[in-house]
């Protein structure tokens, strides 16, 4: 994360010298992380008890039926052989194999489910950032007055509320009682965005406490720094100070925090999808785990890991670009 109280008023990089080497090393490390996640997921889900064939065929399936199902699914092979098969599939077809349950390619399944999940992530991110910015601005400009106190209580309270519970409350109030929004599912086109309003509020709710808290601290640091005092002394209007200098300086740490939080946000989305009955990546993951649908679990893990790693990488690059001092600074 950023150093507190760091003040940035210049923009753009100054030197790029050995940056490419740095970029290469970090990219290589990202790759290693993804590989490790893949290996861990592959073996973990096979260590966990539970047999996909039994989940498909039910308790009344004969041993013969189970055996032929095992063979059809390639589960009669040794772990090593299964892993080799998995790797060759990954490199030749860029896929983790066909779903055990539906027989469709994992890539296709994920591609079908991705739009709604991505939209949900995007909507909740925007919502979380906008609301956090508003609240943090309000709190920091009214330090130790009642808006500040109120806004500081807010994270403490909401931190303790489980995401699914918030979701259920919103469903009961706005879906079942008032009927302003659909209770669950996601429509098509604009209907999709509309039906995702409640879920994205739910996800944003879980993200806001940390964002508001740290953003407020960042803004206070900037507000109390020497150059703002100087600007104030020069009788620059406070609105200008706020938007041109304070927010700009607070933006960078928030961005970095948001980048790190994004992996939690993706995790939160998966749970919220379940609560709202949205057929996205999250519900696919849930049902795949229940059914021990190995290829799909691996596929989702792979894509999530890649997404999280790439985002962290991007955040790192962008923040370094915004403030070159972040590179090589401990």
């Amino acid at each position: 994360m950023m150093n507190e109280g760091q003040v940035l008023n210049a923009s753009g990089p100054k030197k790029r010298g050995s940056s490419y080497r740095w970029l290469f090393i970090t990219a290589a490390r990202s790759f290693i992380v993804i590989v490790c996640v893949m290996i861990a997921v592959f073996f973990l889900i096979r260590i966990v008890p539970g047999d996909p064939a039994k989940m498909i065929l039910g308790e009344y399936a004969t041993p013969e039926a189970l055996e032929s199902m095992h063979h059809a699914l390639g589960l009669d092979l040794s772990l090593g052989e299964q892993f080799l098969r998995f790797l060759s599939n990954l490199f030749t077809q860029g896929d983790t194999g066909n779903s055990i349950v539906s027989g469709n390619s994992t890539r296709v399944l994920i591609a079908e489910r991705a739009p709604v999940t991505l939209l949900l992530i995007a909507m909740s991110s925007v919502l979380a950032i906008v609301i956090a910015l508003l609240l943090a601005t309000l709190a920091s400009t009214n330090k130790n007055k009642w808006p500040d106190h109120l806004i500081r209580i807010f994270p403490t309270v909401t931190m303790g509320m489980p995401v699914f519970w918030v979701g259920l409350l919103l469903i009961l109030l706005f879906g079942v009682r008032l009927r302003w929004f659909p209770v669950g599912g996601a429509g098509e086109g604009w209907g999709m965005a509309y039906s995702l309003i409640l879920p994205s509020i739910t996800v944003a709710f879980s993200q806001m406490p940390t964002l508001v808290r740290s953003l407020r601290a960042q803004m206070l640091d900037v507000l109390e720094s020497d150059f703002i005092v100087t600007l104030k002394a020069a009788q620059i209007p406070s609105r200008v100070i706020l938007f041109k200098h304070v927010l700009r300086n607070a933006a960078l740490p928030t961005l970095m925090l948001f980048g790190v939080n994004l992996s939690y946000l993706i995790g939160g989305t998966l749970v919220v999808e379940q609560v709202f009955g949205i057929k996205g990546i999250g519900s696919l993951l849930f049902s795949s785990i229940s059914n021990r649908d190995f290829p799909v679990i691996q596929g989702i893990a792979l894509y999530c890991a890649v997404a999280v790693v790439i985002i962290s990488l991007l955040v790192e690059i962008v923040s370094w670009w915004l403030d070159p001092r972040t590179k090589g600074k401990s």
């Binding site: 970090t26 490390r29 990202s30 992380v33 490790c36 996640v37 973990l44 966990v48 008890p49 539970g50 047999d51 039994k54 989940m55 498909i56 065929l57 039910g58 009344y60 004969t62 041993p63 349950v101 539906s102 469709n104 399944l109 259920l168 469903i171 009961l172 879906g175 079942v176 009927r179 659909p182 209770v183 669950g184 599912g185 790190v260 992996s263 939690y264 995790g267 998966l270 379940q274 709202f276 009955g277 057929k279 999250g282 696919l284 993951l285 849930f286 049902s287 785990i289 229940s290 059914n291 893990a301 890991a305 999280v308 790693v309 962290s312 790192e316 972040t326 590179k327 090589g328 401990s330």
Partner: protein
């Protein structure tokens, strides 16, 4: 420089976090599919023209046409009737394919695609005459040749609901007459034929490949698959050639996947679905009392039970099993857990199954003193410690486990409850890796043999429902019941068999849960079958 390390550390942390999230999600997912992938064996349908609407709409207001949306906890992933058994698929397959015989909401076998049937006196020859004017959904006529092809494929495939009768031949005598001969008499055969897995498909899959056929299935059922996502919803349209003229009344039927139970209930309350398949006992009253919602019920073919592993050192002892059976107040347990939506069990067979003998069987009564005396006769007079295995995500079972735990403590048996996720649960008891567990047994068809064979046959793959219970007298009676023609003699055989089970308690039947469906009050004409499936032919959606 140290920043690089800091960064790589962060990468590792993010990687590990992703993993943790996945593991967490895995941990939380326990209950999700338990209702959906629950081992419901389902089958076909009901009596033509029978109206048994369970919901209270005014039929005058109800109109024909419209789309009926049914919320279900698990997706339909295959229409291959010969290879499926679980409810998620069975209750979709039975909308598309129909069998020669079926059963009505009371569980009585009725002629369905067959106009009539007859069985020879020796019980070896079965003759079926097909109804006139039955067509597949592509408009072609159904002939006896199609029935031959369908049954032969089932015999060849085997599958999870394989035909248990020893079939000698299946022949088409003429276009309308089908003759099946058996190698030895097998009375449950007719009820077996009423199963969805014995549905009639066009000969040679109507000229397409097997794979193509089950993607675009063609049957005689009231509905045709319009679109289908194996991980999501199914949309059916009405079959224009359906043999019950004018039916179904609705134009479309949508199976909407709603995995989360509370989400399903909320969608029902908000009117986003017309009915929901999975309604937990504890939520039934809330739906019943709702202004716009109602509960449709029917007796089921399910018996909730405690199973003992008779290979376990403690439960191999019949006195231990009898002691525990007498320590448990089954009636109290039923009342506490099922909110009036279940009947306390006496016999292994639910009351909706013929020959259930609930009136005659004497089950061990709740009596703590007798239980203590019984335990004193066992090899463990001072009690012992054991474990009770349950699948997580089923709150009724979790509560039942606590009641059983308390009952055991009364007589000196310390029971530790072990609650694990469904997939792991199955893995455990399939391997006989349990001492006692709570689970349910259920019939595939309205036939005593269906449950009894699965729970007593030591030669079956299920080894007396994984209790490994073996009793030669029981096995003998089981075989007799399969050969005896329907009548008093058969009833006596089963009464005797069920009494032995009640005395030796390889399992304690607890209660027979009712089938509960949440329905909008505006829905009329819905028929709930005892296997848990619904008939939509006479459904009308009101205002």
């Amino acid at each position: 420089m140290s920043k690089k390390y800091a960064f790589s550390r962060k990468l590792w942390v993010t990687g590990i976090c992703t993993l943790l999230i996945l593991v967490l999600v895995a941990g939380c997912s326990g209950g999700q599919s338990s209702s959906g992938s629950n081992e419901n064996a389902g089958q076909n349908t009901n009596q033509a023209g029978q109206t048994e609407g369970n919901t209270g709409a005014n039929p005058d207001q109800a109109a024909t046409g419209g789309t009926f949306v049914y919320g279900r906890p698990a997706a339909v992933n295959s229409f291959d009737l010969h290879n499926q058994i679980t409810a998620n698929n069975a209750f979709a397959i039975d909308k598309v394919f129909e069998s020669l015989l079926s059963f009505n909401s009371d569980g009585e076998i009725v002629d369905w695609l067959a106009e009539s049937h007859s069985v020879s006196e020796d019980g070896l020859t079965y003759t079926f005459v097909l109804r006139d004017g039955v067509k597949f959904s592509n408009g072609t006529d159904v002939t006896a040749e199609d029935a031959v092809f369908s049954l032969e494929r089932h015999l060849e495939v085997g599958g999870p609901l394989a035909i248990a009768a020893k079939v000698d031949s299946v022949k088409a005598q003429d276009a309308k007459t089908l003759v099946i001969t058996l190698q030895e008499a097998y009375t449950p055969f007719l009820s077996e034929l009423s199963n969805f897995s014995n549905g009639i498909i066009p000969k040679d899959f109507g000229g397409v490949s097997e794979e193509e056929f089950f993607k675009q299935p063609v049957g005689t059922g009231p509905f045709v698959v319009e679109s289908w996502d194996p991980t999501g919803d199914v949309t059916f349209t009405k079959n224009p050639y359906y043999w019950q003229e004018g039916k179904p009344y609705i134009d479309k039927l949508v199976y909407k996947l709603i995995e989360d139970d509370s989400q399903a209930i909320n969608q029902l309350k908000a009117g986003e679905v017309d009915a929901i398949e999975s309604l937990a006992l504890q939520n039934a009253n809330e739906i019943k009392e709702g202004a716009d919602t109602a509960v449709a019920e029917n007796g089921s073919w399910v018996t909730e039970q405690i199973f003992f592993n008779t290979l376990d050192e403690h439960f191999a002892d019949v006195h231990v099993r009898r002691a525990l059976a007498q320590a448990i107040d089954r009636e109290g347990l039923t009342n506490a857990l099922t909110f009036g939506y279940a009947q306390t069990a006496t016999s292994l067979l639910p009351t909706a199954i013929p020959y259930n003998s609930n009136d005659t069987v004497k089950a061990l009564e709740f009596n703590v003193e007798a239980a203590k005396q019984e335990l004193a006769q066992s090899a463990y007079p001072n009690g012992f410690s054991t474990k009770l295995l349950i699948a997580s995500g089923n709150s009724s079972r979790a509560q039942a486990a606590q009641i059983i735990q308390a009952a055991g403590k009364e007589i000196g048996i310390n029971i530790e409850i072990e609650s694990i996720e469904l997939a792991a649960f199955r893995e455990r008891f399939f391997a006989y890796d349990f001492s006692m567990m709570i689970n349910s047994g259920q019939a595939d068809s309205p036939e005593a043999n269906s449950i009894i064979a699965f729970q007593t046959d030591p030669d079956g793959f299920s080894k007396s429902y994984w209790t490994h219970y073996t009793n030669d007298e029981v096995t003998k009676l089981l075989r007799e019941g399969q050969k005896t023609q329907d009548g008093e003699e058969r009833a006596a055989t089963y009464a005797q068999l069920l009494q032995i089970l009640a005395d030796e308690v390889p399992y304690i039947p607890l209660y027979y849960p009712e089938i509960l469906k949440g329905v909008r009050s505006s829905v009329d004409g819905l028929i709930v079958l005892p296997n848990g499936s619904l008939r939509f032919e006479e459904v009308r959606i009101g205002q």
